[in-house]
Symmetry: C2
Subunit: 459 residues, 2 copies
Amino acid sequence: MSVIEQMKKFMEPESVALFGVSRRNEHGFNILQHILSYGYQGRIYPVNPNASEIMGVKTYPSAKNINAEIDLAVINLPRDLVPGIVKECVEVGIKQIVIATQGFSDANDEEGKRLQKEINGFIKKDGVRILGPNSLGTANPYINFSSSFIKLNMLKVPVGIICQSGSFFGFHELSTLGKGIDLANSCDVDFIDSLEYFDQDPQTKVIVLHIEGMRNAKEFIKTVSRVARKKPVLALKTGRTEQAARAAQSHTGSLAGSDAVWDAALRQAGVIRVTCPNELSDLSMAFSILPPMKGRRIGIITGSGGLGVITIDSCSQANLEVASLSPATVERMRALFPSWQSIGNPLDILPAFVVSKQPFYKVLTEALDASFKDDGIDAISLMWGIWTRPECNRFCQTINELLEVHCHKPLVCFLMGDYAGEAKDILLAAGKTMVFHNPDRAARALAHLAQYSAFRRSL
Amino acid sequence: MSVIEQMKKFMEPESVALFGVSRRNEHGFNILQHILSYGYQGRIYPVNPNASEIMGVKTYPSAKNINAEIDLAVINLPRDLVPGIVKECVEVGIKQIVIATQGFSDANDEEGKRLQKEINGFIKKDGVRILGPNSLGTANPYINFSSSFIKLNMLKVPVGIICQSGSFFGFHELSTLGKGIDLANSCDVDFIDSLEYFDQDPQTKVIVLHIEGMRNAKEFIKTVSRVARKKPVLALKTGRTEQAARAAQSHTGSLAGSDAVWDAALRQAGVIRVTCPNELSDLSMAFSILPPMKGRRIGIITGSGGLGVITIDSCSQANLEVASLSPATVERMRALFPSWQSIGNPLDILPAFVVSKQPFYKVLTEALDASFKDDGIDAISLMWGIWTRPECNRFCQTINELLEVHCHKPLVCFLMGDYAGEAKDILLAAGKTMVFHNPDRAARALAHLAQYSAFRRSL
């Protein structure tokens, strides 16, 4: 089997054997309960010598009693038992194994190292591949499967994550994630194997990496350089300080390496480095749904002069430019705005509505349409407040209709008021614009989008 | 009347005259509808020559027909009419006037400047004070009053804001704000007057400033230096770049000044400068509800090794220290954790629960109690995921009970999982801890708290 074929068995298993399924649901941690609730349609073989069925699913005393082809084994038993179970899996011909159990290279004792060594003996013998230990394994919302004992959101979005901490599977702010691979200790399956899978996967448009450290960094950089030319790759490299690097060592047993070296290597590879989980979440979505940018010039449309000033600050800090409006745009606005208002960027549309008594949706539509058609603007940042339900519906309808026509430059929104949350949900469901809580985050997302757009043009 | 007495009339009016109240509710913009909905108990006199009542409230053809003492006038009429109305107010003895209308020093034409000059002629004549123009006026949730035509959340929280943009009244992320003063163009009432009010106001514990620019910066710095020694003062100074400063000029007609000069002056005055609206929101709450910090040493308790590493990165970036655990803390944890786990900071409590099968709440309580009692720890950062409702309730109960006993050092949380939002609501209602969406924001908030605590100790 090729690497990709074998990674497909990890990601798209048609049958799974589960070792260490509890009859209880402690703190919501139960893989069997979760995959039943997701609606996984593959065959499930829980192995438990002390039960005949769990949650309505027939159980087997050992792997030897299953007598069927098994694509993936998931082991979640005390560490002392793990090598024996791996051996059992290998003997019945299971080639893909996830080990969730902790206490191997991540442990502080000799026994952990010894157990890891024992497991290592099985790797690539007869084609056996191991994901973990200390791993939630894989997640694939497109087939409603995950080996994670933590319940996931399982959204069918085109973002694939490769991480070294299961928290990225359950991260509230990362609910934009689709498929996932938790490498954790990474004794065998690694970033390179996983990148090869996502590189060819048609359901994945954006690849996200959470890196604590790795052994084969040079080979990784070679692979990721190739992949990043085809699909945007975002990386959160943690363990930036020495103290954090030591903690990473005890977490997954991996070496963090110098932060400056990582920074330069990732940049050269065309990988977009992000600094925090929020930015990872913002950019995953930005690269999934926003069109590329031709340049870095932002048109700002606002209902508040004060927020306009704040948005300029945000743009400057993110090295974006505040666009100069074309004469055509200024002329169109002139007809709507009070005569005393200087028309520029930011375009404050409140006076046109409050002072000149123009119908609000006419002003909003004109301002957006003019900005979409203005060749001097590469992306639009819109700020508005929504305080009633009718306004919320009409606002979203206006935006969505405009985005049906204009899909060649990004529009991002920053909303306030009682109905900001509802408007956000409606706009996100349409999947054509992003709504931010903060002008800084919006500017950073656009800056990265502009940077990657330039990188792609340069290839 | 002293400045403070007069500012009290702006903030705590017992009677208000409203000029320019519409019979309609366009886009949710109607001051009369709002103050009725808030439950304002003072006397309300809408002035409208074309109606006898609006929304059940008797109206008056002009100020001259009111025949009662009026603490505050709010004018929201076309700019050409404003000087005449101000004159009318002065003639009937109204000393406090809010002008909401735009198009004065914020306008681009001669007429705006001329109208502003006309209004200026009334300032401090017979004790008249004017707030605005271009201002939402004041907000005081403690008496259910605001002159804002945008509907506000009106939370009774001890945070007072002085701003130059009404968007800070309606800012979604700033729902932690209590009283507010929108200076806007600031032709008369300014930062100094407003600081004097909040300085003496027993309902305000934290003061927040949104500054675009001002004329009397030297005097302001003198005043704010005095106030910051008594109450924490947070400042978002916008218009950091030249382009943003120009936009500020056209927004409120004020001069932004050099950013570096502002930065140094604010720091020297003991003012905490923040960089974005989210940070303003985080710190308002942090200073309202968290106790001061004795130093910068953070204890990290986590359910994920990966998030532990990320939190160290966040702490380092915010110049916080990762605490060394005392021998007593290590010993207490030793009894609960698997023998192979190295016990340190971050304290990963998941193995104690998943591997050693210790009851989760025992582990959590022990870890938190030990950290609260550990003299080497100045604040605690807790990360945990919550996936079921019973867990959510029990988790919050555990945290709240611990915070009843330990109230001498801050605890901040970073929550994940399906019930993170609900847990956040429960914990915020108890008002003793803060829940962040991002380890970076939590670290920045603690760093500012530590800095201000050190400043207060140094006085």
